[in-house]
C-alpha cells in the first residue's frame, strides 16, 4: 500500500517482539511497513528462562516464535544488524549496512549488565550474564574451570549462580549489600535465603566490595576485597544490576534521565514525538521497569499510540514471584513497608521449615499494601489478589500467613475475585477476559490460553489460571469430558486402575462391567487398542491370543508395520544396534529372497519393506531360525536403545554404553505402553547416541550413569531433563523400572513421555519425589510389576509361528492362494518400491 508508513523497531528482545505481535494481531501492519533490527544473531528469545539454556533448552526452544513468524507476518526482521545512529534530521536509522528512512521509531533496546569499575574487570574469563552469546561464553570459559563467582546477589545474580551450578562449578556469590536480594527482601528474609542457598553448596559472601581482580595462585583469578581478604576463582560473572541502553537516544539528543533511561510520557513518546521508547530503556516517572510484564504493557501502549488509540501507561506493579536456585521468593507492592507511613507489619518465621512471610497492612488493618515471602510462595497468588484488587482483608490478617494447621484463612477462591482481577500480568489478562473467552466457546484451559495468551509469558500464573478456568467452566455447568471414547466414561488412567484393581483380563469383561450402558458394546478403534495395551502392560499375555486379537490395530495383529499399499515392513530387534556379520548376511538373504526394500533406520536397525501379508510367517521363520526376535516396531512399546560404541572402542568413552544398551533393550523389550518408547545410551558426555532426545536418555559419567527423562525428537523436539546422577547399574534399572511403570499407569492414550511430563501437575519435581523419594509409596509395586513384565516376555513372532491357528490370518484370501494382484512394485535405485 502506498499510504504505508515506515515503522522501525530497534531491538528484538522480549518487549520489542511483543510489540511486533501486537502490531500483527491488531491490524498495525495495514498502516505500517515494519522493520525490526536486532543486534543479536538470534531472533527474540525468552530471557526470563535463560538459565534453562544450561539445563537442556537450546536457543530454538527459548525462541519466542517460530522461525518463519516474521516472514509469514510480513515484518522484516534484520538480526545481527546493530543500529549505530538515529538521524533525526533526515529521519533515517543508520546501521553498518545502510540507511533506512522512518516515519516512526520505537526504541526497545533494553538494558546492559552493569560491570563495576574494578581494576581487572576486563580479564579473560570475566563475563556478564544477559544474552545467549554471553551464556555461550560462560559455557566455554567453564570448560577449563572448577570454580566460579557471581558478583551481585540480586535476582539476576542468583539466576547466574544457578547457571554456574548447572555447569558443575563450585559457585560463590559476592554481594556488596548486607544481604541477598536487598531490593526484594528484608534482613530476616535475606538471612533465610542465605541459609537455603548455602545449603545448596553455593558460598554466599555479603558486605564485600571487590577492590581489584588479579592473577590467582591456585585459580586463574584472585578477587581482593575491601578488607584485603581474597577469593580465588577461575571464572567471574558480573551481575550487579542493569543499565538502560540509551546511547542511541543520547547521541541524537533525546531527553535522558539523570541516571540514564530515555524519558517517556504516558503514551511512551520520547521528547521527539516521532520516536517512542518501551521496556527497560524507557524511563517513566523517574522509574525504570526491569520486569517483562510492565514492558509488555508499554508495548501495548506503544501500539495504541502508533494507531491513534488512547491507551496510557500508568506505571506498573513490580510484584514478583520467583524461584531462584530452587528457593521461592515473592515480593508484592510495598514489601518493605517504607512507602506507606503508618503501615503495620505482620511477620511469620519458621526456622525449621525455613519459611518467612511478612504482610504490610494499612493502618486501619483493612488493605494489603505489600508482602514478602521467602521459602514458600504458596500464598502469593492469594495475597496478590488482595493487594491488586484492594479486597478487604479478613479480621485477622495474620491468618493469611500462618501455617494451615493453625486455622489459617482459606485461600481466596477464584469465585471471590472481581471481574477486573488481573490473572496474567504478562499479557494483562483479567478474569473478565477469561470469562469472555469461555463464553465465546473456549471449552478448556488450552482454548483459553490460545484465545487470551494468559500464562504464556512467565508462566507464574499457571495454577491460578487453571483454577479460574475450572471454576468458570463448572459455574457454566460444563463438565470437562475426559472419557476415552463413547464406550467408556473413563480416562485411560482410570481404565488402567480398574483393570489392575479388579484383575480384569479381557476387553469383553471390562466393557460389560464398566462400559457405558447407553452405547453398544463392541468398542471401537479408540478404546480397543488402548485397552489391549493396558491388558498387555498388566498381564503380558500374547497380543495375538484369540481374546485379544480383535482389539489390535492391524500393525499389532500382523506384528508388522502396514505401509501405504497394504504391504508390511519387518524390523527384527538388533539390541543396542550391535549385529554380527552372520546376522547381517541373513538379513540380506531374507531381503533378497522376498524382494524387500532395505533401509537402515534411525534407531540403528534394518527395516525391510514391501513384505506381503502371506509371506510374513515364512520371513519370520527364517529370521527366528537365525536367532532374530521381533523388534516391536509395530507396537506402542519399547522400540530401540540407540548407543554409541562406548569405552570398548572409543578413546573418550568412560563406560560400556553398548553393553548397557543391550541390557536395557533386553530388559524392557515387549513392554506395552501408552505410546512408543525410545532409549539412548551415550558412553561419554559427547553424547553421540543423542540420548537427550529420547524418552529415556543415559549418559555415562566417570562414576556411573546420568539418567535423563522425557525427551523427544520428531514433530515437537524436547530435550530430556536430568533426573538422577551417577547411578550404578542396579540403581539405573530400578529407577527406569519405576519411571516407565509410572508412565504406563498414568499417561493418556498415545501420549509420549514428553507430553505426559509437560501435563504432569508438579512437573519434574513431583516426578522426582514419586520415583526417587517414593512419596506415593508405590515404588515396590511398580518394580514388582515391571519385573513381572520382564519375566513373562516372549517373542510374539516365535509364539505365532508355532501356532497354526494364529497363522490362519496370514493369508491374502481365505479361499484362494494367489497374492493380492493389485500390489504392483517398480524399481528405483536398485530396489523395489510401490508403483
Amino acid at each position: 500500500m502506498s499510504t504505508q508508513q515506515q515503522l522501525i523497531i530497534i531491538g528484538n528482545g522480549m518487549v520489542g517482539h511483543h510489540l511486533v505481535e501486537q502490531l500483527v494481531d491488531n491490524g498495525g501492519l495495514e498502516r505500517y511497513q515494519v522493520t525490526v533490527f536486532g543486534e543479536e544473531r538470534h531472533r527474540a528469545y525468552d530471557r526470563v528462562h535463560l538459565s534453562e539454556y544450561f539445563s537442556g533448552r537450546d536457543a530454538e526452544s527459548l525462541a519466542l516464535c517460530e522461525a518463519d513468524y516474521y516472514a509469514v507476518s510480513g515484518v522484516e526482521l534484520r538480526t545481527g544488524e546493530a543500529v549505530i545512529e538515529i538521524d533525526r534530521d533526515q529521519q533515517e536509522v543508520v546501521t553498518d549496512q545502510g540507511r533506512y528512512p522512518y516515519d516512526r521509531v520505537v526504541l526497545a533496546t533494553g538494558s546492559f549488565p552493569f560491570v563495576p569499575p574494578i581494576p581487572g574487570n576486563d580479564r579473560d574469563g570475566c563475563l556478564v550474564y544477559r544474552t545467549l552469546d554471553d551464556l555461550d561464553d560462560i559455557r566455554a570459559a567453564a570448560e577449563n574451570a572448577t570454580t566460579g563467582v557471581v558478583v551481585g546477589g540480586g535476582l539476576l545474580g542468583l539466576e547466574a549462580a544457578n547457571a554456574l551450578r548447572g555447569l558443575n562449578l563450585d559457585t560463590a556469590v559476592v554481594e556488596f549489600a548486607s544481604r541477598l536480594m536487598p531490593m526484594q527482601v528484608d534482613n530476616e528474609g535475606g538471612e533465610l535465603l542465605r541459609e537455603k542457598i548455602e545449603a545448596l553448596g553455593v558460598q554466599v559472601l555479603t558486605e564485600r566490595a571487590t577492590q581489584r581482580i588479579e592473577d590467582g595462585e591456585a585459580s586463574r583469578h584472585r578477587m581482593v576485597f575491601q578488607d584485603d581478604k581474597v577469593l580465588e576463582t577461575d571464572l567471574i560473572v558480573f551481575s550487579a544490576g542493569i543499565r538502560p541502553r540509551d546511547q542511541l537516544a543520547r547521541d541524537c539528543g533525546l531527553e535522558i534521565g539523570e541516571r540514564g533511561g530515555v524519558v517517556v510520557d504516558n503514551q511512551c513518546l520520547t521528547s521527539d514525538p516521532a520516536i517512542l521508547a518501551i521496556g527497560e530503556v524507557a524511563l517513566w516517572n523517574q522509574s525504570i521497569f526491569g520486569l517483562v510484564a510492565p514492558g509488555y504493557q508499554m508495548a501495548k501502549t506503544a501500539l495504541s499510540t502508533l494507531t491513534d488509540g488512547d491507551t496510557q501507561f500508568g506505571g506498573a506493579d513490580m510484584s514478583t514471584k520467583l524461584k531462584l536456585l530452587g528457593v521461592d521468593v515473592g515480593s508484592i507492592g510495598d514489601a518493605h513497608g517504607n512507602q506507606n507511613p503508618g503501615a503495620r507489619m505482620f511477620r511469620y518465621l519458621d526456622p525449621i521449615k525455613q519459611e518467612y512471610r511478612k504482610l504490610v497492612v494499612s493502618s486501619d488493618g483493612k488493605k494489603l499494601l505489600g508482602a514478602m515471602l521467602v521459602g514458600d510462595n504458596g500464598v502469593y497468588d492469594t495475597l496478590l489478589q488482595y493487594y491488586s484488587n484492594g479486597i478487604e482483608l479478613p479480621d485477622e490478617p495474620a491468618s493469611l500467613i500462618l501455617p494451615q494447621s493453625s486455622g489459617a484463612a482459606p485461600t481466596l477462591g477464584p469465585g471471590a475475585l472481581p471481574e477486573t482481577a488481573t490473572i496474567c500480568s504478562c499479557h494483562n489478562v483479567s478474569k473478565g477476559d477469561i470469562c469472555a473467552s469461555i463464553d465465546a466457546g473456549a471449552i478448556d484451559l488450552g482454548g483459553v490460553k490460545g484465545d487470551t495468551k494468559a500464562s504464556t509469558g512467565c508462566g507464574g500464573c499457571t495454577a491460578l489460571l487453571k483454577s479460574v478456568v475450572d471454576h468458570e467452566l463448572e459455574a457454566r455447568g460444563v463438565e470437562v469430558d475426559k472419557s476415552i471414547c463413547e464406550h467408556f466414561a473413563h480416562t485411560r488412567q482410570e481404565l488402567y486402575d480398574i483393570v489392575r484393581v479388579e484383575g480384569i483380563k479381557t476387553f469383553s469383561e471390562l466393557i460389560a462391567k464398566h462400559g457405558n450402558q447407553d452405547t453398544h458394546c463392541l468398542g471401537c478403534d479408540i478404546c480397543k487398542p488402548a485397552v489391549a495395551s493396558i491388558l498387555a502392560s498388566c498381564f503380558n499375555e500374547p497380543i495375538t491370543d484369540a481374546a485379544h486379537i480383535p482389539l489390535q490395530d492391524t500393525n499389532d495383529t500382523f506384528m508388522a508395520n502396514m505401509q501405504k499399499n497394504g504391504t508390511y515392513s519387518v524390523v527384527p530387534r538388533v539390541a543396542g544396534g550391535e549385529i554380527t556379520p552372520d546376522k547381517l548376511i541373513v538379513l540380506g538373504e531374507v531381503a533378497k529372497k522376498y524382494s524387500l526394500y532395505s533401509k537402515v533406520t534411525g534407531g540403528q536397525r534394518i527395516d525391510l519393506f514391501g513384505a506381503r501379508l502371506e509371506d510374513l510367517p515364512d520371513i519370520w521363520s527364517e529370521l527366528i531360525a537365525a536367532g532374530f526376535e521381533t523388534g516391536h516396531a509395530y507396537g506402542k512399546s519399547l522400540r530401540t536403545v540407540k548407543s554409541c560404541v562406548g569405552s570398548t572402542w572409543c578413546r573418550y568413552g568412560v563406560q560400556d554404553s553398548v553393553g548397557m544398551a543391550i541390557q536395557l533393550e533386553n530388559r524392557y523389550k515387549g513392554l506395552r505402553s501408552p505410546h512408543k518408547i525410545k532409549f539412548g545410551v551415550s558412553g561419554c558426555t559427547r553424547e553421540c547416541a543423542e540420548a537427550q532426545s529420547k524418552d529415556i536418555g543415559i549418559i555415562a559419567t566417570e562414576n556411573g550413569w546420568n539418567l535423563y527423562v522425557c525427551g523427544n525428537g520428531g514433530m515437537r523436539p524436547r530435550h530430556a531433563e536430568l533426573f538422577a546422577t551417577d547411578l550404578d547399574d542396579e540403581q539405573l534399572y530400578r529407577t527406569i523400572d519405576r519411571f516407565l511403570m509410572f508412565y504406563v499407569r498414568t499417561a493418556d492414550r498415545l501420549q509420549r513421555t514428553s507430553v505426559w511430563r509437560e501435563n504432569l501437575d508438579g512437573g519434574l519435581e513431583y516426578l522426582k519425589e514419586v520415583i526417587l523419594e517414593d512419596s506415593l509409596g508405590i515404588n515396590d509395586e511398580l518394580e514388582r510389576q515391571m519385573q513381572s513384565v520382564v519375566d513373562t516376555y516372549q517373542c510374539e513372532w516365535a509364539d505365532a509361528i508355532s501356532d497354526p491357528e494364529k497363522l490362519k490370518r496370514f493369508r491374502s484370501f481365505v479361499n484362494d492362494d494367489r497374492p493380492d494382484p493389485s500390489i504392483i512394485m517398480t524399481s528405483e535405485r536398485g530396489q523395489l518400491r510401490p508403483a
Partner: protein, 139 residues
C-alpha cells in the same frame, strides 16, 4: 432348515438376482469380531471381499440389528487404494456397527458400506450367509 432347503428359499425370494451363491470358506476360516479377505468371481469381474464375523451367543455383545452374524464389504479401501478393509478394527459408533480402515481410519458401516466421514463414499456390500458351517456369498 437344511442348507439345500435354505438355498431353495433364497433362490425363490430373490428372483431378480440370478447370480449364483458361492461357497467361499468355512466358519473355521473366520476370526470372531474381526475380518478376513476372500476372492470372489462375479458377473462384473473379480472382487476382493472383506468378511466380518460378529458371532451371536449368550456371552457376546448385544448389538442393534444383530440379526445377522456375517457382513461382506469391499476389501478395497477407496481412501488409500489398498486392499485392506478386512484388516480394520470392528466396532460400533453412535449405534452403527462399523469397521475402521487400518490406513487412514475412516469408518464404514458394516450393514451398507456407508462411510461415516464422507457421505459420498460407500463400499459395495454382498449378501452373505452361513449354510451350516459353510460361508456363502451371493455374487
Amino acid at each position: 432348515m437344511t442348507a439345500t432347503a435354505l438355498k431353495k428359499e433364497m433362490d425363490s425370494v430373490d428372483t431378480q438376482h440370478t447370480e449364483a451363491w458361492q461357497k467361499v470358506c468355512t466358519k473355521a476360516d473366520l476370526v470372531a469380531f474381526s475380518g478376513v479377505a476372500a476372492w470372489l468371481e462375479t458377473a462384473e469381474g473379480p472382487a476382493q471381499v472383506a468378511i466380518f464375523y460378529l458371532p451371536v451367543g449368550p456371552d457376546t455383545p448385544s448389538l442393534p440389528d444383530h440379526s445377522t452374524e456375517l457382513y461382506a464389504l469391499d476389501h478395497h479401501d477407496p481412501f488409500s487404494s489398498a486392499n485392506v478393509i478386512a484388516r480394520g478394527i470392528v466396532g460400533d459408533l453412535k449405534g452403527a456397527t462399523v469397521v475402521a480402515s487400518p490406513v487412514y481410519k475412516q469408518h464404514f458401516r458394516l450393514a451398507d458400506g456407508q462411510c461415516l466421514e464422507d457421505e459420498s463414499v460407500k463400499l459395495r456390500t454382498w449378501k452373505i450367509e452361513f449354510k451350516d458351517d459353510e460361508v456363502w456369498i451371493e455374487g
